[in-house]
Structures are given as structure tokens and as C-alpha cells.
Amino acid sequence: MTANIGQAGNPQATAARERSLMSRLLGGEFQQLPVFLSLVLIWIVFEILNPQFITSRNLSNLVLQMAEYGLLAIGETLILLLGEIDLSIAAVSAVGGAILAELAANNVNPYLAILAGAASGAIIGLFQGFWVTILRVPSFIVTLAGSLGYLGLLFVLIGQEGTVPIMSNTINAIAGNYLPAWLSWLFVVISIALVAWSVWRNKAARRSMGLPVKSSSTMWVRVMASVIVMILVTVVLNAYQGVPIAGLILIVFVAGFAWMSQSTTFGRHIYALGGNEEAARRAGINVKGVKIAVFTLAGLLAAVGGIVGASRLGAASTAAGGSDLLMDSIAAAVIGGTSLFGGRGSIWNALAGALVIGSIENGMALLDAGTSTKYLVEGAILLLAVTFDTFTRMRRQKLGR
């Protein structure tokens, strides 16, 4: 709704603007809408079924539960944006957690252990990225094979006992401690200030360049909505024990990677590659470099998720990295509206998708639903999300040309 080249002041311009808002809604450009609506629906249903659901204590729990696959989902979203898939992230996260636990058990400085755990994920990601881009083996196979290999590695690291307990207080604090209320509010204030400043700066810049300024209403609705959500979440979490550190880690990573994907050249190139790899190549984009970097980041994020997971469990275990974690992460990305066909989706939506998955798991646990029901419901939701994605894609192709 900005530049109307050569038609400024044209009465058609306003009509075009209204039409484009409508087509944007239908064309799935407001990708957030479906996932947020389903989230609201899920919460209402669970709250009706069990009033324990929307309580500070349970929501705080929910944040802790979703932190691990939320982090994995960020990486998976980046990979899906390329039009690739990574089936190894759960196994990589387990390896990251195991390396952390082993090092901590050998009295290595906990921060160093955390760094080493995270680095192991990045190295695995780099290796996979190399295999996919240079040797051109499909990512599906590379990461599936890799996943098995890393599980083997996990047994080597942990041994047959099955678990390595984590004694370090520093590491256990990641998922066990909470921010003091004042600090969480400080973060909220800083975030609000940052958002307001960037909106204001952008407007001022456009005005001074003589570019059409976006209608403020949509912009402010968005800003206000995110401010309200931030404040609400902080109030709710502070009513229990505070904002979990794991939750803070998740939100910082989500915000950071969302910013990277939207505001940096690297992020733009990820989308370009997913949209039309050949076009990206012809435009001179370093296609291989971008792909390898994204696989590396996905590995890194998986390992960070694994560290948070290990901290929550207080141990690294051979049972970590099971297929649940993988499915939850992929489901979070896809339910968030990220297309399996590449080029469409967003990091913030992965967080929303993780919330959906987390809410369902948490809610069904509260209802004492069996594992069978849980799997059935999750499977159905994943299938629906992918079907929705396929249909919108077909619709786009029909309209596109």
C-alpha cells in the first residue's frame, strides 16, 4: 500500500488499495491470522474442559515445555524456507545435550560446556550443509541418515547406562530459574521502546524521502497487539514464579532470527532461494553459501534446544532426541504457516506454531488423555496444516499466472 508509480492522485489508487487489502487477506499474506485464531480456539476449548488450563502456574509450565522444540522449530523454519527439510534436529539436540552433560560431569566450566554443546550442533549442521549443497544429496536423506548416525554417537557419548546427570547449578538454572519481576519488566520496556522507535524511524525516513507512508492504522494495530501480548504474558508469568530463563532464551532467539530473516541481506537471500533458486543464482546470490549457513544455523539451534532440554531434565539421556521432538518441531514450523515448498513463512509464526503444539500437549496432559489420543490429535493437526499449505499453494499458482 505504498508507491503508486505514475498514478499518484489517481482515483483508482484508493480502489486498488482496498482491493489489495482484501486480496492480501485471502491470499494468505496475513499468515499469522489462522494460527492465532486456532490458538485462541484451542485455549478456549481446554479452559472449558479444565479450568486449570489458563493459570499462571500451568502457562509457566507450558513455556518451559515448549522452549526446547520452539528453538528447534526456528531452525526448521529456516530450512523449510529454503525448500529443504532437516530430519536430524532432534538427534542433534540430543548430541548437544549429551556433550554438555559429559563435559559438565568432567568438571569443565559450565559456560564452556554450554558453548561446546552449541558448537557441536553447528559443526554437525555444517557437515550436513556440505553434504546437501556440494555433494547434492537430497537433504531428506542426508538428515535422515545423519539422524541415525547421531543417535549412535549419543550412545557412545552417554554409554549404556542411559543417563548422565547434570550437577552444575549454572546449567540447571537455565530451565530451573526465573527472572526477577523487575528485570522482566525492564525487558518489556526495552522491547516496546525498540519497536516504537523502529516504526517511528521508518516513518520519518519514508517521509523525508518523499515515499508514500503506510497507512498508520494497520501498523499501529500490530504494534499495539504485540505490546498488549508482551505485557499480558509478563503479568501472567510474574504471578507465578516469573519469566523462566528458558522462556527468555526462546524469545530472544525467536526475535533475533526473525529480525535476521526480515532485515538482513542474508535473510532476504534465504527467502529468494526458497522462492526461485534459479533466479537467485542468476541474480548472483551465493546459493551454496546461504544453504550451508542455514544448515549450520539449524544445527546450532537444535543444540541450543538440546541444552535447554537437558537442563530441564537435569540430565542427558539416550531417550532424548526421540521422534516426538522432531515431529513437534516440524509441526510447530508448519502449523505456523511455513510452507514445505519453500519461500513462505516466518520465524514468529514458528513460535505461534510451537504454542499451538505445546498447548495441545499440555492441555491433554491436564485432561489425562492417553498417549493414543494425543498422537491422533497431533497427527490430524499436522496433516491439516500441510493440506492447508498445499491448497494455498495451488491457489497461488492458479492466480499467479
Binding site: 505514475g6 486498488a16 491470499g27 499474506e29 541481506t265 522462492g275 526461485n276 541474480a283 497461488r396
Partner: protein, 261 residues
């Protein structure tokens, strides 16, 4: 018929290009030239070597033999990046656009403008500056597009073609090559794109167009170069030739007009 003169006015001169793919002699002596402000149409039947020729000038393929002279200097175009750096832009038939990105992102794809947030550390995309730079170029060519933050997926075929052409203009190219620019378009859109190509030439760029469509060719081309079986078989001035004669040269039905270089 035109002599293929050696004047330095010629932005591009191609001499005796040959290329063999395995058993197939794809090009067997292609010779022509394009001057600044001139539109040259490259015509020929399927398999005559039009696309291969364009690919060589774009740096996608390299000739086995022959010379490509750009602005008076013999050049070796070993990659598309080198060709682009020299000022050779190609608008491909399959429109190398990213559907999922908006117009301005496509215009600046691979050459995004950035601004510094933390000196030496963080630089971010400067969307506003990109839009600001794009506007005068688009206006100058009389290009009308929806708002620049519209996704390319929602544009019509003509608008997409326009974006692809605008992209080449924005990058200060000296030679623009278009592969079947009107192939997938409706009548109105075809006319708009043809006008755009003419304005491109008026702004002083050398334009090379591949086309199957004789109407288009006769509407815009200053000269028509005919390829058959990988050779340049004729070169006509538009004013001195009828479509029938061109078609005859394409199919080889008439006495071939040999071109000497």
C-alpha cells in the same frame, strides 16, 4: 541488408561464434552486431541457435570459437557475473523472478542496498532507499506497477515482464537481451511490453530481442538477424524487407542471402 560494420558505435559485435554440444553443432558461425539505441531482433526456427547465442553473450555458455566484442573490446565471458559487470543484462523467458518476494526486493535481488546500524558490524536492508532509487527509473520508462511492496506472485504476466525489464534498466546496463518477451502475454500486455522495449532503446541502450512473433519483430526491430541451423543466414533492415522474405530466410525456402563479416 546491412553491412556489419566495424564502427565503435556498436555496443556488441559477435563474430563467427561456434559451439558444439557432443554430436550437435549448435552454432556454426553466428555473426551480427547491435548498436546503442538500436533494437535488433534475432529470429530463427526452433533449434536455430538463438537461445545458445544469447547464453553465450550472457556468459552462461562459452563459445568454442569466435569473438564477442563488447564496446570495442574482445571479451571472455566466463560467467554470468562477468557479463553483468560489463553491463549485459538478460531477461529470460522464464522470468528469473522470485514470486514470494515483493517488487522492490526483486528489483534489487542480489544487489540489495543496506544501511549501517552499528558501524562495521551490523548492516540491514535499506528498503526505503531501494524504493527511492527505483522510482525515478520506473517513472522515466513510464513503467506503471502496483505498489512496490506487492508480491510478484500477484502480478499479471505483463507486470512481471515489466519488473524483469525494469530490473535490467535499474542496473545501468548497456545491452539488454530479452528472450521471447511477449510469449506468454495477452494482447494489451504485449503492446505495453513492446513499448517498454522501444523506450529502452530510446534511452540509448542496445537491445537484442529473440522472438518468434513476426508482428512483434516488425513493430519494434530496427534490424532483423536470421539464424538457421546455427548460422547467420541473413540480416535485414526493417524498412527493406517483408515478413514473407524473413520467413523464407528462416525456413531456407528462398535463395539465402549470405552475410559477410
Amino acid at each position: 541488408m546491412t553491412e556489419l560494420g566495424q564502427t565503435s558505435k556498436h555496443v556488441l559485435e559477435v563474430r563467427g561464434l561456434r559451439k558444439r554440444f557432443g554430436a550437435v553443432q549448435a552454432l556454426d558461425g553466428v555473426t551480427f552486431s547491435v548498436a546503442a539505441g538500436e533494437i535488433v531482433a534475432l529470429v530463427g526456427d526452433n533449434g536455430a541457435g538463438k537461445s545458445t547465442t544469447i547464453k553465450m553473450i550472457a556468459g552462461v555458455e562459452q563459445p568454442d570459437e569466435g569473438d564477442i566484442v563488447f564496446e570495442g573490446e574482445s571479451v571472455r565471458l566466463s560467467s554470468p557475473a562477468i557479463a553483468e559487470k560489463l553491463g549485459i543484462q538478460t531477461v529470460y523467458q522464464d522470468l528469473a523472478l522470485c514470486d514470494n518476494l515483493d517488487i522492490v526486493s526483486n528489483l534489487f535481488l542480489g544487489r540489495e542496498l543496506r544501511r549501517t546500524i552499528i558501524p562495521g558490524v551490523v548492516r540491514v536492508l535499506d528498503r526505503n532507499e531501494m524504493e527511492r532509487r527505483a522510482m525515478p527509473v520506473l517513472n522515466e520508462l513510464g513503467i506503471r506497477l502496483p505498489p512496490l511492496d506487492t508480491q510478484v506472485a500477484s502480478l499479471s504476466g505483463g507486470q512481471r515482464q515489466t519488473v524483469a525489464v525494469a530490473r535490467s534498466v535499474l542496473w545501468g546496463s548497456k545491452l539488454v537481451m530479452l528472450d521471447e518477451p511477449t510469449a506468454a502475454l495477452g494482447v494489451v500486455q504485449q503492446r505495453a511490453v513492446l513499448e517498454l522495449i522501444q523506450r529502452l532503446a530510446q534511452s540509448g541502450k542496445a537491445v537484442l530481442v529473440i522472438s518468434h512473433n513476426m508482428n512483434d519483430v516488425f513493430k519494434i526491430a530496427d534490424r532483423i538477424v536470421v539464424l538457421r541451423l546455427g548460422r547467420t543466414v541473413a540480416a535485414f533492415e526493417r524498412g527493406n524487407v517483408t515478413p514473407e522474405q524473413v520467413v523464407a530466410a528462416i525456413t531456407g525456402a528462398s535463395a539465402v542471402e549470405e552475410v559477410t563479416s
